[in-house]
Amino acid sequence: MRIRRLFKWTRFGIFAVFGLIVLSTSILCIYTVDTELSAEYEVNTQNIAKTIADSSAGILLNQNLATLQSLVDQFLEVQGIRYIYITSETGEFLAHTFVPGIPEEILESEHSNTAPVERSLPGMGDFIEVGSPILAGVAGTVHVGMDLDVVALKIQRAIGQQVYLISVMLLIAVLASIWFVNLAAKPLGELLAYAVELAKDGENDELGERELLARDDEVGHLARLFLHVSRQGGGRGLPANTSGTE
C-alpha cells in the first residue's frame, strides 16, 4: 500500500492531462459544432425560403392561394421549421401556418425585411426568421421561422454525442493507467515486503527460495541484491546476475 503512494502523483498527473484533453476537446467541439450547425440551419432556412419564393411566384400571380397554402404546408414538414408566412407586396398575409392566429409581433413586423432576425413569440418559443423576396419583392415576401429550441436540441445532441465519446475514452484511459500503475506497483510491494522480511530474519533459508528472486527484471535484480547484502552484511561482492541494469 505504501508503494502505491509512489504513484499518487503519477495518477494525478494522468487524470490532469486527460482531463485537460477532454475539457479542451469538448470546448473546441462545442464551439465548432454550435457555430457550424447554427450556420447550416440558417443557410438551410434561407434556402427553404428561397425555394418557396421561387415556386410561389407563378401561383401568386394566378391568385391561387389554396395551392400556395398547400406548398407552404409541405415545407412545414421539414424538421425545425415551425412557421412560414407569405405576405403580399402591400403586407397582406396571403398564406401562413399560425394556429390559433398570427402573433402580434409578426403582424407588427416589417414584412419586406429579408435579413435574419431572432424572434421570441409568446407561447411558441424562440425562432430565427429569414425571408426571401418573391420576384425581387414586387410580388411579396416569404418568411420562414426556424425553431431555435429544435436547433439548440440538435446541437446539444451532436455535442453530447461527441463529449460522451471523449468521456468514454477518458474513462477507459484512466482505468487502463490505473491498471498499468498497479501492474508496476504490485511487484514493488512484494519487493518491499521481502526487504522487510530480510531485515527481520535475513538468515532464514526460506527467504533465499522465493519466486521473486527468479524474476528477470529490475525487481528480481533488487531482490537478489537485497538478499545478497543481507547475507553478506554489507555489499562486499555481488552475484553475477545482479550486477546492473539490463
Binding site: N62, L65, A66, Q69, S70, V99, P100
Partner: protein, 453 residues
C-alpha cells in the same frame, strides 16, 4: 344486392376489394423486398390480389381501365379519423346509385365498382393511394375524392400522367385548384365552388347589415381556399376581413377552440364564417356560444352538416342555444324536399340498399345518417358518372372520357338545375342553398333579414 364488383373483397363479398392502409403498407413492404428478385412474379401477384382475371390485367395493362365485366373507379377518401363521416356519407350515397345500376344490368353489361382506399383526410396517404390506383389497380378514372388538402396534392400526379387520360371526377371539395389552370383540365366538378358558397354567405350577411365578417378556418389548402373566397367576396363590397383565427386539421370536438373564439371576440365581428370540418367547427360554435360570441356562425357545405348538428345537440339540455345562430351553405338541395325527383330517388335507393362502408375500412365506430347532404351529393355524383359512362358506348375507353363529359348539355339530374359541361365549363352545378337549424334539423333559410337582420 351485389353491387360491386370485384371478387374476393369484403367478408360479405359485397363491396369490392378492400385495401386498408395497413394491408397496403404490408404489401408495399413485401413488394419492395421481393422486387429485385421477382419482378415478373410481382406483376402476377398484384393481379391476383385485386381479384382480376388475366384478361382483366391485360385490358388494364393496355390502358382501357375497364374489362368486359366491369368498370373500376378509384376512390381515396376519409374513412377514418375525425372527418370519417365525410367520406362515409359520400360513399354511401354513391353506392346507393351504383348498386341500383349494377342490379339492373350495369352499364352496357358492365358493373361499376369502386376500389376504395382510406386516406384519413391526409395528403400523403392520398397521394400514395392515388399512385396505387393509377399504376397498380389501373382504374378507369378517379372518383369521389374527399377534401382540398388531399385533392390539391393529387392534381400534379394527374398532370404527370396526363397521357393516361385518368381524370378526377366530382371531388368533394369546392376549392379552386381543380377548377383553374394549370390543373383544371384534369378534373370535373359537379358541386358549386367555395368561391360561390362564400360569396353567397357574404352577400347575404352584408345585405342584412353584417359587414364585419371574420373567418375561422382550417389552416391548410381548404381553409385558405375558403378564406380567399370570403376575402374576394368582401372586397366586392368594399370590406376587408374583420379578423381571422385558425385551427389544425384533425382537431376533435373534444378539443378547445377558446383561444380562437377570444381572438375573434377581439375584433367584434358581426358574423363568423367557418371553413372547416364538422368536429372543429362544432367545437368552435360550442365555445363561441359559451364565451358569449353571439353572432351568426356560417359553415360551408364541406363541414358535414348532420355530423355538426349531432355533435352540438347530442346530450344537450338546451341544444337550441348552440344551433340558433348556425347558417350552413349547401351545394345540393334539401334531402327533405321529396318534391324533387332526384331526392325521392335518392331516398328510395338509400332505403333499399343502405350501403355501408366495408368493414375492413372501418377503424372507428361511425353511425351513418339515413339521409344527409353528403350522401345526396354522393348520389348525384354517381348518377352523373353513370350517365357519362353510358355515353362512352359499348367500348369504354379513357380516351373518350373527355368527349363524353362534354356531350353533357342541359342534362336533367332530377334536381331543378340542369347540368352542362364543356371545355371551358368543368363544373356542372352552380347553385348554393342556405340552411338553418329548426327543430333539430337543417331547413332552407328563406329570409335572412328576419333571422339575422
Amino acid at each position: 344486392m351485389q353491387c360491386s364488383l370485384e371478387p374476393g373483397a369484403s367478408p360479405d363479398g359485397k363491396w369490392g376489394p378492400l385495401v386498408t392502409r395497413k394491408s397496403l403498407m404490408r404489401s408495399g413492404l413485401a413488394a419492395l423486398l421481393v422486387a429485385p428478385f421477382t419482378a415478373s412474379a410481382l406483376v402476377a401477384g398484384r393481379g391476383q390480389e385485386s381479384g382480376g382475371s388475366e384478361a382483366e390485367s391485360s385490358d388494364r395493362a393496355e390502358g382501357r381501365g375497364a374489362t368486359d365485366e366491369e368498370i373500376v373507379l378509384g376512390v381515396s377518401a376519409a374513412f377514418s379519423g375525425p372527418s370519417r363521416g365525410l367520406g362515409t356519407e359520400l360513399y354511401r350515397g354513391a353506392m346507393a346509385y351504383f348498386n341500383h345500376v349494377n342490379e339492373n344490368g350495369g352499364i352496357e353489361g358492365r358493373r361499376v365498382s369502386l376500389r376504395l382506399y382510406d386516406d384519413g383526410y391526409q395528403p400523403d396517404p392520398c397521394v400514395q393511394n392515388t399512385m396505387r390506383l393509377m399504376l397498380e389497380d389501373k382504374v378507369f378514372s378517379l372518383f369521389g375524392y374527399v377534401g382540398t388538402p388531399t385533392v390539391t396534392r393529387v392534381l400534379p400526379i394527374l398532370k404527370k400522367f396526363q397521357d393516361e387520360k385518368i381524370f378526377l371526377f366530382f371531388p368533394f371539395t369546392g376549392a379552386q385548384p381543380q377548377r383553374e389552370p394549370p390543373y383544371g383540365e384534369f378534373a370535373f366538378n359537379l358541386r358549386a365552388s367555395y368561391n360561390q358558397e362564400t360569396a353567397g354567405l357574404v352577400d347575404n350577411l352584408v345585405q342584412v347589415g353584417r359587414r364585419r365578417i371574420a373567418v375561422f378556418y382550417q389552416i391548410d389548402a381548404y381553409g385558405r381556399s375558403g378564406w380567399a373566397g370570403v376575402r374576394a367576396a368582401l372586397d366586392k363590397h368594399g370590406e376587408r376581413l374583420a379578423g381571422e383565427a385558425t385551427y389544425s386539421r384533425g382537431e376533435k370536438f373534444t378539443g378547445s377552440m377558446r383561444k380562437q373564439v377570444e381572438i375573434l371576440q377581439g375584433v367584434a365581428p358581426d358574423a363568423v364564417i367557418c371553413i372547416g370540418a364538422y368536429a372543429a367547427c362544432a367545437a368552435f360554435a360550442r365555445d363561441a356560444v359559451d364565451l358569449g360570441l353571439d353572432v351568426p356562425i356560417a359553415n360551408l357545405s364541406f363541414v358535414g352538416s348532420e355530423n355538426l348538428l349531432k355533435l352540438l345537440t347530442e346530450g344537450q339540455d338546451d341544444a337550441e342555444r348552440y344551433t340558433r345562430q348556425l347558417i350552413n351553405s349547401q351545394v345540393v338541395p334539401s334531402y327533405e324536399d321529396t318534391s324533387i325527383p332526384a331526392v325521392q330517388e335518392y331516398r328510395d335507393l338509400m332505403a333499399r340498399y343502405d350501403p355501408q362502408v366495408p368493414a375492413d375500412l372501418v377503424e372507428e365506430e361511425y353511425a351513418p345518417f339515413p339521409h344527409s347532404f353528403g350522401s345526396l351529393e354522393g348520389f348525384l355524383n354517381a348518377k352523373l358518372m353513370g350517365e357519362i359512362l353510358r355515353r362512352l358506348g359499348p367500348n369504354p375507353d379513357r380516351a373518350g372520357l373527355e368527349e363524353a363529359v362534354f356531350s353533357i348539355e342541359d342534362f336533367d339530374l332530377g334536381i331543378s338545375e340542369r347540368v352542362s359541361f364543356g371545355p371551358d365549363r368543368r363544373q356542372g352545378l352552380q347553385s348554393v342553398y342556405h340552411t338553418v337549424v329548426e327543430e333539430g334539423r337543417f331547413v332552407p333559410l328563406d329570409d335572412w333579414g328576419v333571422r339575422f337582420g
